[in-house]
């Protein structure tokens, strides 16, 4: 457990594999990187002491060492990979199709996928990605990221900072690229140095020993990208707090106005118009495809106005409103105001807005209208007086009519299938007649009515479904992603190349190392030794 003093005089931390300064393999530590069994030196982390591999005492140290292992990290990644894949075998709960016979997950999975679906549901895989164990898995990857990075960055940084141009011959001989030339001149050496500089290598010299280095910063790439990932994970964590992230949904009918949920009643939205367009089936470009696949939607759009409430507010009390914004909300064109964003995300087509009825004589085959009236379905009146002296009173109204155990009732709150019970009072005080009228229904209660009501006309309207979002964590995600990209490009598109020139009696040893793209390094060396006596390096990698 003591520090290791190398013969070059440098004192290395315990656990060092290759002396930080001269690279001489430290005796007794070669098993750590497997150098004892191979001809070439393992150069990862430049043979520096990864502390995790040297201590193993308290629980804290043990936990630390566990997460510090790349092996553990890779296992966690593999487990996350498998778990993620599992979640796509059957749809997640949120993707159960809207037209499924039952959207209740306890029924859906079994009825659609049989026993396997049942098992899938019982294991909780229908909500896999928000399950505690999946989140734990991702969190463990995060922990592993932090600890692995800390444990490797510091020693690598120190080792690269402390490296000296003069390297131990053992170190050089055991590099993948190596050559030894017996006779070289000073002129040769000078040529090499000029060419190295031309190739934009940084050349360090110590007593005639040369270290030419290029692209060291690419070694920091992995740590930079890990920082980016950690920021992304922190953002994901923050997103769980309700303040940082808001997700609501609101339906607004055409012509109506409503409060935007999640804004504490501060903002209202008015749907001036909802537009649904489809592609023209005669468009020569798309004719063929439309003929095969049927009509294709072209646009969903809500013409919206946003109002802000001013003055003190009490939920439900008539508010004072101030127009903030008027805009078209389309798919791919959300509307932003304050810190909120509204997205076009659904629509309802089958809602009626008004219906016009006509009165005609029951036995008139032409059903000639004697008079008509229009019912506003959002606000039906009790009585309608017709021009011809008839009056019609509304005795019952079912916005979404259905028969339930022999009783008429409304299935929902919305006028999707409106039906009425009318009392028709002909002029001249005759007895009133009862009529039941709905879509495709016209029932005469007694069968003896002289007059009949028919639907002459109706207007439908759309209801637009909008998602309301507020997400303060987005900038953090963007920063994290940007840092990740910088790090990954830095690490992947640049290479850390080092060439050592080691004068030895009359000749010279040349060794080279890179973290990737050996082919490129070889080409570099080939170029710098041109026109000199120096031998080309040999690739000593054992062919597997």
């Amino acid at each position: 457990m003591s520090k290791i003093k190398c013969e070059c005089g440098h004192v290395n931390p315990e656990g060092t594999v290759l002396c930080e300064a001269c690279g001489k393999p430290v005796e007794g530590n070669q098993h750590i990187d497997g150098n004892d069994k191979r001809k070439l030196l393992n150069m990862r982390y430049d043979g520096s002491a990864r502390r995790s591999q040297t201590y193993n005492k308290s629980i804290v140290d043990k936990t630390w060492n566990f997460f510090s292992s790349v092996k553990v990290g890779v296992w966690l990644i593999v487990l996350a990979l498998i778990a993620s894949g599992l979640g796509t075998i059957f749809p997640q709960e949120q993707y159960i199709p809207a037209n499924a016979a039952s959207r209740d997950p306890s029924i859906y999975y079994e009825s659609q996928y049989g026993i396997l679906g049942q098992i899938y549901y019982q294991l909780g895989f229908h909500n896999l990605y928000s399950s505690w164990w999946y989140m734990l898995l991702i969190a463990l990857i995060g922990i592993s990221l932090v600890i692995c990075s800390i444990d490797r960055f510091v020693p690598l940084y120190k080792a690269l900072k402390r490296q000296r141009p003069r390297r131990h011959t053992q170190f050089l001989k055991r590099q993948r690229l190596f050559s030894e030339t017996d006779n070289t001149t000073d002129d040769d050496k000078a040529k090499l140095i000029t060419k190295l500089k031309k190739k934009r290598y940084k050349v360090h010299e110590e007593n005639g020993h040369i270290l030419a280095e290029k692209g060291r910063f690419s070694r920091w790439g992995p740590y930079v990208n890990h920082i980016g990932l950690i920021i992304v994970l922190i953002a994901a964590l923050l997103r769980m707090t309700p303040f940082m992230y808001l997700d609501e949904y609101v339906w607004v009918r055409e012509g109506e106005q409503t409060v935007i949920p999640g804004t504490d009643g501060e903002y209202h939205i008015k749907n001036k118009d909802f537009i649904l367009e489809t592609y023209d089936e005669n468009d020569p470009r798309f004719q063929e495809a439309i003929a095969q696949e049927g009509n294709v939607a072209k646009n969903y759009q809500t013409n919206a106005v946003i109002y802000k409430e001013t003055g003190e507010k009490v939920a439900g009390a008539e508010p004072k409103l101030e127009k903030v914004k008027e805009e078209k909300i389309k798919l791919n064109h959300p509307l932003k105001f304050d810190s909120y964003t509204l997205y076009q995300s659904g629509y309802q087509q089958n809602e009626f807005q008004s219906m016009t009825f006509k009165v005609h004589e029951t036995n008139d085959p032409d059903e000639k209208s004697l008079g008509s009236f229009t019912v506003d379905l959002t606000d039906p009146k009790n009585e309608y007086n017709l021009d011809n002296g008839f009056s019609v009173t509304v005795s019952q109204y079912y916005p979404d009519y259905e028969m339930d155990e022999g009783e008429p009732r409304s299935k929902t709150n919305y006028p999707r299938n409106p039906a009425f019970v009318f009392n028709v009072n002909p002029p001249g005080n005759e007895e009133s007649e009862i009529s039941f009228v709905g879509i495709g229904r016209n029932v005469d209660a007694t069968g003896e009515n002289d007059y009949k009501l028919g639907i002459e006309n109706f207007e439908t309207r759309y209801a637009s479904g909008l998602t309301v979002r507020r997400d303060y964590t987005l900038p953090l995600f963007i920063i994290g992603a940007a840092i990740f990209m910088i790090g990954v490009i830095q690490g992947m598109y640049w290479h850390h190349r080092r060439i050592w020139l080691h004068p030895e009696s009359e000749g010279m040893m040349v060794a080279g190392h890179t973290n990737k793209n050996w082919y490129g390094l070889k080409k570099d060396i080939e170029h710098i030794i041109e026109d000199t006596n120096v031998k080309m390096v040999k690739d000593q990698q054992e062919i597997e």
């Binding site: 804290v60 800390i150 309700p242 439900g316 019952q396 709150n413």
Partner: protein, 191 residues
């Protein structure tokens, strides 16, 4: 001397490392626990038993009742049974007669029954009120503002609010006569 110094140095270093590792692990652990806990508690509504009932003001549409508007804060010192309902909703319809039958008695005892309606047309509400001869106030919340403020999901949902304005109980789904009476007694002001 030198040896001793390096030994104590080493001890110091070791302690520092232990502290560093402990702190990092503790922070990471805290983050993980926070993630798991907040994930598990995400679905809970903010308006729940034990919290103060949010104030609201709505137009009152039951012609059998003398109020023109209902504002919750005006009902201070009274118990309030705050029911959210719609005419199309079956279990809502089932519990209305029970509420009506208990209303006169408990009004005397200082408990107000407030049934917030969520229909889109007043017409059907009027018909409904007449069908069951309801006399308690029916505030009209057709754009679901108060419903959202209370985070109501299924209908009916009923909040029993004590005279201090605090929610005693939240019940999702229909209630029986006995149950309503039990809860009403809970929020009845002391005589």
């Amino acid at each position: 001397m030198n040896n001793n110094q390096s030994k104590s140095n080493k001890k110091q270093k070791k302690r520092n490392r232990l502290i560093f590792r402990t702190v990092v692990l503790a922070v990471l652990l805290a983050a993980v626990v926070y993630a798991l806990v907040s994930n598990l508690t995400q679905d809970e509504t903010a308006v729940k038993a034990g919290t103060e009932a949010p104030d609201f003001k709505l137009e009152q549409i039951n012609e059998n009742n003398e109020r023109e508007t209902v504002q919750l804060s005006d009902l201070e010192n009274k118990g309030v049974m705050l029911n959210f309902w719609g005419t199309w909703c079956d279990p809502c319809e089932d519990e209305m007669p029970y509420m009506q039958s208990l209303y006169p008695e408990y009004k005397e005892k200082g408990v107000e029954i407030v049934a917030v309606n969520l229909d889109t047309t007043k017409f059907v509400v009027d018909k409904f009120i007449n069908k069951y001869d309801l006399t308690f106030p029916v505030p009209y919340d057709s754009n679901e503002e108060v419903m959202n403020a209370y985070n109501v999901e299924p209908l009916p949902t009923t909040f029993f609010i004590n005279p201090d304005g605090e929610i005693e109980e939240v019940v999702e789904g229909g209630l029986t006569l006995d149950k309503i009476e039990g809860y009403l007694q809970q929020i009845q002001p002391e005589q």
